[in-house]
Symmetry: C2
Subunit: 340 residues, 2 copies
Amino acid sequence: MINRIGNYTLEFTDKPIIAGFGSIVGKKESEGPLKEYFDKIEYDTRFGQESWEKAESMFQKEALYLALKRAGFELKECNCIFAGDLLNQCISSGYAMRDYGVPYLGQYGACSTMAQGMAMASVFVESGAAITAAALTSSHFCSAERQYRYPLEYGGQRAQTAQWTVTGSGCVILTSSKKAAGNNNASVSRVTIGKIIDMGIKDAANMGAAMAPAAADTIKCFFDDTNTRPEEYDAIFTGDLGLVGTKLLYELLERENIDITKIHKDCGLLIFDDKTQDTHSGGSGCGCSASVLCSYILKNMQAGKLRKILFVATGALMSPTASLQGESIPSIAHLVEIGI
Amino acid sequence: MINRIGNYTLEFTDKPIIAGFGSIVGKKESEGPLKEYFDKIEYDTRFGQESWEKAESMFQKEALYLALKRAGFELKECNCIFAGDLLNQCISSGYAMRDYGVPYLGQYGACSTMAQGMAMASVFVESGAAITAAALTSSHFCSAERQYRYPLEYGGQRAQTAQWTVTGSGCVILTSSKKAAGNNNASVSRVTIGKIIDMGIKDAANMGAAMAPAAADTIKCFFDDTNTRPEEYDAIFTGDLGLVGTKLLYELLERENIDITKIHKDCGLLIFDDKTQDTHSGGSGCGCSASVLCSYILKNMQAGKLRKILFVATGALMSPTASLQGESIPSIAHLVEIGI
């Protein structure tokens, strides 16, 4: 059953089970602090394809394969896939889905896509609209750079506030199927759907600043709606606020008397080591929070090191067209409460 | 309660009520056969804004306003908005949502977005995840042409198979609230979620051909899942197959012994009169099926002229980047059964 709690939060009494999860990342990500946690590393930036865009589709297919494999599920058991990505027309997802014949609902939430897809899949599973559903997303440094910023060949200097788009993909399989119960699986207990927040940031090289207010808003809404406190959680993971955005998040939440500093981690800061990898403000992209969730976070939950966490994926809905027209960057954050 | 029927169809026992709907279109659409049905005409292509993209956002805001007004609902009663559009990063929707503070879940289904959004909103309302939810989408001839084809100033010749992107927006308010019951409102009884179908069409000036197989697949799945026949419906509306796609749809369904020719109408063929409006194969765009649903179709249902219909919005997930890389056009169609 789904209960509406407060204004923005949904509670699942049966708690959709995370039957499986899978992660795959590129070479640079494999050289970072989380290297041992990823299921698979792909060293070829093109993944044997003719273009980076086609390669990104392959990352999604691989993450879906790995997640189904870990779950012990077949593709045909999946009633519905919620997928999306950063590329125009979400082509990484659309083309990945082409060979599968599985009902597909394309999601657009920029880097918040993993949490959005999990929220949707959880509602579908909890309500019986699906027995099993997948949430899937990806990003690719090369395809994102040339679409959002400059051709790589241009060799542009990156600002210190800029983040490095993660090449990678993550997939979660959510289910109500009994065969996934009792297997030391985590489950989704609550979600908070975010709102578009835009505080006027126009610098496309400072997405962390654009997204921090959205993360702060969603986190505050969750604590208000559920009457909980940060101390009740082992960790709160934001998606890809990076160094700049994380600092801003702390400031914004401090004004609301919410202190998450002791238990907060940002996926964008976990995945790279700026000192040795020159990634500046941290990692970003849909694939950042997705691959960290589907490796470090969920593996630590299964290992008993984390029992109850909040996963808050943050998206900057930045459009080069709108930016050229003088627009600021609207942002959004969706929250998923996961327990084991 | 939501029942899964067959492989792809969801049945709603409580049937989310269409409490309100709203439509707004541009000048060219107001000169077509459906002119008397639209709620509002905007004669200024720029809607008083500096760009067509910003204008398209205004169309969405107006459609949402009109739908809420007809429903007698306030914006704050809306628990969730499902919106999406054709522009990169779905900016028409993202920027439209910026001022509202309502939970937002961005959808990407190209021209299938209206049916996708209604399917999602119906699942949310039926499951209690929302009391009231909106499905909203738009398209704009000028913003679509320059993003997907050529700058308007180029004055390119249009192929006879090409369709004309509708400038317009439609919004539906779905609810389980008792205050909407008994008001001669239609409701959603079943939905079928589509799969990506790609038969290898590469011609971006022939989207109807790309989408027809997806429409045929979803329609066949619905009839198989529900054990119903076309004769049981007053009408089956496809989104924007146009002349070419409609002909192909009939051929594909004939092979499956399904004859919908007597009751089929295509929103893309309803909205324009090619003889006087030079629109070639018909209208297209998210705003095409959305504005026709939220005017002609739902007004005819309220007037008792249509009692039970299928609304099958069709989307060609065409990407200029993928097309330049030699890719074909993946398509999808989602189906919504509406009764009164």
